[in-house]
């Protein structure tokens, strides 16, 4: 029995980041699936682990860790296995810059689109009173606002347009960065790649006009290389919904 437990949803976005990092390091961990679409993350059992009600969370012995990107840095530093951060402090700076850019600028735009086309419709069919009660239970006010928008589909036209603009711009930035180097932000496979893969793995499916073999060959090659890693195969096999099976788009024909 491992002393590491990861509370996660699908191998996707924030949950997928520590899942893939743990797999890459070869760390044995207990998987605790938290069903985001059933609002398990706002129920007392989970709030006892992470009072903010955000996923993922990880326990290592009696330590509790949240915030997926900082959690990945901990995973890399605290466990043996292949290094997912280069030794050069400047490479580390670049990796942290890109992770933050993705976490705070690019991923929210991807997820605004994702929530409006995927998560919103999936939960909207549930009982309205149950949904209202579920929203009222959310501890962080900003997450309450976000869920309300997703559930009732109230993203404004302007903000969706802005998200589309950012997705298109971000894709061009990634393509340019990956044409400079084999990996994102440094010359070795790192946490930046683990992070980036989690927001971008379904790109050729979700944004086929913007990301394809003609327009973004470097992104596609990068995604396929990561998809072919045994750790990614094992991580995405842990998915339970159609979200995770989208990864098959990266199969080489």
């Amino acid at each position: 029995m491992s002393d590491v437990t990861l509370y996660h949803w699908e191998p996707n976005a924030n949950s997928g980041k520590p899942m893939l990092a743990l797999m890459e390091k070869g760390v044995d961990f207990n998987s605790h699936y938290v069903d985001l679409l059933n609002f398990d993350q706002h129920k007392p059992d989970y709030l006892a682990i992470n009072p903010e009600g955000t996923i993922p969370a990880m326990t290592h012995g009696d330590r509790v860790l949240t915030e997926s990107t900082a959690m990945m840095e901990y995973v890399d530093a605290a466990f043996p296995g292949p290094k997912l951060m280069p030794d050069d402090p400047k490479d580390q700076w670049r990796i942290r810059w890109w992770m933050k850019f993705m976490d705070q600028w690019l991923a929210p735009s991807f997820s605004m689109i994702g929530w409006s086309v995927f998560i919103g419709p999936m939960v909207r069919s549930k009982d309205p009173d149950m949904l209202k009660a579920a929203i009222d239970r959310i501890p962080l006010p900003e997450r309450r606002v976000a869920w309300r928008k997703a559930i009732y589909g109230t993203f404004g036209e302007e903000e969706m347009k802005e998200s589309q603009r950012r997705v298109a711009f971000g894709i061009r930035m990634l393509e340019e960065e990956l044409s400079k180097r084999e990996w994102l932000a440094s010359d070795q496979y790192s946490l930046a790649d683990v992070n980036g893969f989690n927001i971008a793995y379904a790109l050729p499916l979700s944004q086929p006009e913007l990301s394809n073999d003609e327009k973004t060959p470097h992104i596609l090659e990068w995604l396929r290389k990561i998809y072919e890693r045994p750790a990614a195969k094992k991580t995405w096999a842990m998915g339970k919904t159609d979200l995770a099976t989208r990864i098959k788009i990266l199969e080489r024909s």
């Binding site: 605290a78 942290r96 933050k100």
Partner: protein, 260 residues
């Protein structure tokens, strides 16, 4: 290691990086630029995608061996990790996680709020006094469309009441968090002095005058603010100010979370 630091007045991210530089003992050439007039975007300041698209908005730029770097917390980590000892960040992985998580919450929740209130009080009038041609010239070289929009909104005085209220609440919440963190009588936020103290101080110091109510009764926080200010690195950074009240100098900062 050849370092050139382009910094603004010692407040917000410029204060974090200046103090981190002095804490870590690296030699750097310092170049003072006016971030409030968009000088970071002029040709004489080296840039690259990480400078153009920095989440932090108008922060300092450290050029290290020719590579322009942005984002104050990560620059501070770089300065720490390339020093011979680890003066302002713990090496233990869990303590480092605590520091990075603390800083992330400051960047995401406190920095956008402080910058919003700061530019509303201290930059909006200055920009609206510029004529259209001068302002267009200022923002023309800005590569990030959303940063450019923030500049234009500030000049137009387009501040949203809900965002102002939310920003005030976030400053109050940050002070409460600091006060709670210090409740066991510790001197520094995470035990040993670290980047978390610098980053938190840099965004909160200017809020004492703007949001005095947020600091009411927060005596431990007041003591901590004084201790940070008294550090040789911070007082040296403050001595570089070209204005009498550097805590009132604000340039557009990180954007307020678009999700609400």
């Amino acid at each position: 290691m050849a370092l050139v630091l382009y910094h603004g007045e010692p407040n917000g991210p410029s204060l974090t990086v200046l103090a981190a530089l002095f804490e870590t003992g690296h030699d750097a050439e310092l170049r003072n630029i006016d971030l409030t007039m968009g000088e970071r975007h002029q040709d004489n300041v080296p840039s690259g995608v990480e400078v153009h698209m920095s989440i932090e908005g108008e922060g300092p730029v450290l050029v290290a061996d020719g590579e322009p770097m942005a984002d104050s917390v990560f620059i501070a980590c770089y300065l720490n990790d390339s020093a011979s000892i680890s003066p302002i960040a713990p090496q233990d992985p869990f303590a480092r996680w605590q520091m990075m998580t603390w800083c992330r919450q400051i960047i995401e929740r406190v920095a956008p709020a402080a910058a919003y209130l700061g530019v509303k009080a201290h930059l909006a009038d200055k920009l609206s006094a510029l004529d259209d041609a001068a302002f267009e010239k200022l923002i023309a070289p800005i590569k990030s469309e959303d940063l450019k929009t923030r500049w234009a909104d500030i000049r137009a005085g387009a501040f949203d009441d809900a965002k102002v209220d939310d920003s005030k609440a976030k400053i109050k919440a940050a002070v409460d968090k600091v006060e709670t963190q210090l409740s066991d009588g510790r001197d520094w936020l995470l035990g040993d002095f670290s980047i978390a103290d610098l980053e938190t101080y840099a965004w909160l110091a200017g809020m004492r005058d703007l949001e005095p109510g947020a600091f009411d009764g927060a005596s431990r926080t007041a003591g901590w603010l004084d201790r940070v200010k008294a550090r040789p690195s911070v007082s040296r950074a403050l001595s570089l100010a070209r204005t009498a009240t550097p805590q009132d100098i604000w340039a557009p900062g990180p954007e307020i979370n678009r999700w609400g």
